[in-house]
Assembly symmetry: C2
Homo-oligomer: 430 residues x 2
């Protein structure tokens, strides 16, 4: 992975080379803290050891009974779905096994998906760390009933990834379902390079070893200096810019196959760094499409943004046919990929010309190694940002309140939070 | 449509009832300006007349030659795609005609899509106001060649929506293609309720008259007081909160069928209001999924956000089956939709408990009338916000620079902007 921060220097907000020097000293100290956390397998820091601790052979062995299904339906939400979805989307061109995700509790969407799936040749991949996540378990109960109704033996086609105990573990034990354990000390949003993110890819027959090898490359690039470590440099630059007013980070990959990556990044960044009244807001974007949607704002709106542009150095291209259409002849001889690259560089320059900070991230290709490297590097960047900002990177205390309220509303217990819902102040305009 | 701004009052940032009174006076003045613009069919303001000026019979007649295809492939980008995609996604359960969109120039994605489509039974719906948009025309040339290669006569299966002249108009004239005109005075991002947004839906056999009727309802609700007009009230409340520091507006529908709506809104809001160093940044979110991704940040991060929650009052539900799984029995007897509604209300209350402003928008259902009403109301809200902020709501000057640069890079002429790209400052870390 290569990081180019040239356009983050000198703009407004912007960094100077002096600022980088100061940040570099702090990166050295933070790196030591992170290394200590990794050495001790501390909660969260343990995620950065996954390239060494994940057992791909065990994952392969666990999914082996399912052979090659027509489809894999992953039932999970948040960190239990986004890593798997990101890897599957990046590598979709390398498998005939379709991947689908039930990561919401929308009844219409669920019904439509279940109607369209070949249930007798679909593996259901249920993922929940606690084994009690209401959305995931509700969806699983609905899927299980649909399989029953279709005359399919769900116990033959269900795969489980969960913790040592809880409802899902009991279910797996009772019905002797193939299963894997979520790793210890790894928060959901940091679990892409583990059983949680890789089981789906393995069920699709994808190159999970390549994903881990890519992550290993990024891990080996970590060092005590931001000048030698693209991941840490990215975290430090984002932190430095946020301190200077770039409160939004627009993550803008130029590849449709990385659209899910931007969503995965948004969770990683928001849940890890959004606390104690600080945290850079991740905005999901997609190049070149969002040049026709968000670029006006990025270039001319408030000076509160960093734009991160991501692209692969290589991709299969398609030639744009020669044409007799007047005014378009210049396109003939180029490829769609050439056009996309020209737009990438034009967007960068367009922002830079207005002093709007932007950063370029390049991976060799959107392949197994490339996505593994990118995912790991962004996790390390997040941890570095969290250290520099003095945050509890690995917790998400603000989501518990709503879970209790929802549970109370559904009659799952007495919770003061549910009563607060009833007290809502209304001011209605119709 | 019903708007509930109770949770936008009293928080931090927050409005007071006094602020509403002050805003209401300004809404009255802005309303007069808007009414004058509508009466004169001024550029942009004319979009708010579309429910009266769009000719659905003409749209139906224009697409009639195509009968009922297996699929419609819309080739367009930005405002030429997002409105159509939003309507098609909202009404997907009401048609068997699949809708696909080529709204990016990603070669891998394009190749995959063309491979998967039944080209001999697909109508290609090309949309470009100018008839020269590089991305759209390039994609069309690729699609046309793929049809040639598949032995399909593309001239029999291509539908065009464009202006009075330009490449696309010439193409339509030369090959006698069925076509429609883009409306006068309507910027692309305000064109959902016009030929631009409705042709795709008509090709799918959807209820375009219902969409327009819904828009008409929202139009009839416009008035000189925010207390009587949900659309204007939404625009005014967003403006008031942005002035008080809510620089981000997270648009969070609780329905998968409205996921595209959030993207459409993001373009409308960003391109219309993001200029002169101001403008609220739209963040696309999706409930309940993003409770497990963005809610931590929304509830505990910087106090710079408004969250807009949107839901239908009615939807088809699916019962969650009764279960023997310990600790989950409380879910039995509820539906997935009940769970989704409980999460909606829990999220609202969770934000309100921390004084984080949020607004509730409800439509009766995600159907033709509902989506028409919602789209029109958000357009009117955008125009109101632009008036209150004194912005040129209907221009997008900051996107031209990059277009010239990209064109220059591809050899389409001499542009100083392309030379600026070559001067990029690099600072590489690998």
């Amino acid at each position: 992975m290569e990081l180019d921060i040239g356009n983050a220097l000198g703009g407004s907000p912007g960094l100077t080379e002096d600022t980088l020097e100061h940040l570099d000293e702090r990166v050295g100290i933070a790196h030591e803290r992170i290394e200590q956390g990794r050495a001790d397998d501390e909660h969260g820091y343990a995620a950065l050891n996954l390239p060494e601790t994940v057992d791909t052979d065990a994952i392969r062995a666990a999914v082996e009974p399912f052979g090659t299904p027509a489809a894999v339906l992953t039932v999970g939400i948040g960190g239990s779905a986004l890593g798997a979805a990101t890897i599957s989307a990046a590598l979709a061109d390398q498998t005939d096994v379709e991947a689908h995700f039930l990561d919401n509790v929308d009844p219409e969407d669920t019904a439509e998906l279940l109607d369209s799936l070949p249930l007798d040749d679909t593996v259901v991949n249920v993922v929940s760390r606690s084994g009690t996540t209401a959305e995931t378990l509700s969806n699983f109960l609905v899927v299980r009933e649909a399989m029953d109704d279709a005359g399919v033996d769900w116990t033959e086609q269900t795969f489980v990834t969960t913790g040592d105990d809880g409802n899902l573990r009991n279910l797996a034990d009772t019905h002797d379902l193939p299963s894997l354990k979520v790793p210890e000390g790894v928060p959901g949003r940091f679990s892409a390079i583990s059983t949680v993110g890789l089981a789906c890819a393995a069920l699709q027959g994808l190159d999970i070893e390549g994903v881990v090898a890519g992550a290993q490359t990024a891990m080996d690039d970590l060092s005590g200096s931001l000048y030698d470590s693209p991941a840490y440099a990215y975290g430090a630059v984002c932190y430095g810019l946020a301190e200077r007013g770039a409160l939004t980070n627009a993550m803008m990959p130029y590849a449709e196959s990385l659209e899910y990556f931007a969503e995965w990044f948004a969770q990683l960044w928001a849940e890890s760094l959004g606390k104690e009244q600080v945290g850079q807001t991740p905005a999901r974007a997609l190049g070149a499409t969002d040049q026709h949607s968000q670029l006006q704002l990025y270039r001319a709106g408030p000076r509160d943004k960093l734009v991160t542009l991501v692209r692969p150095r290589e991709r299969e291209d398609i030639d744009i046919p020669e044409t007799d259409l007047e005014g378009l002849s210049y396109l003939g001889g180029s490829g769609l990929g050439d056009l996309l690259d020209a737009e990438f560089e034009a967007t960068e320059a367009s922002l830079a010309a207005e002093g709007r900070p932007n950063v370029r991230i390049e991976i060799d290709a959107v392949d197994a190694e490339g996505i593994g490297e990118l995912l790991y590097a962004m996790e390390a960047a997040t941890v570095m940002y969290g250290e520099l900002a003095g945050l509890s990177t690995f917790t998400q205390p603000a989501v518990e309140w709503g879970k209790k309220a929802a549970r109370g509303l559904l009659g799952g217990g007495d919770f003061a939070e549910a009563e607060a819902v009833a007290d809502k102040r209304t001011f209605t305009i119709e």
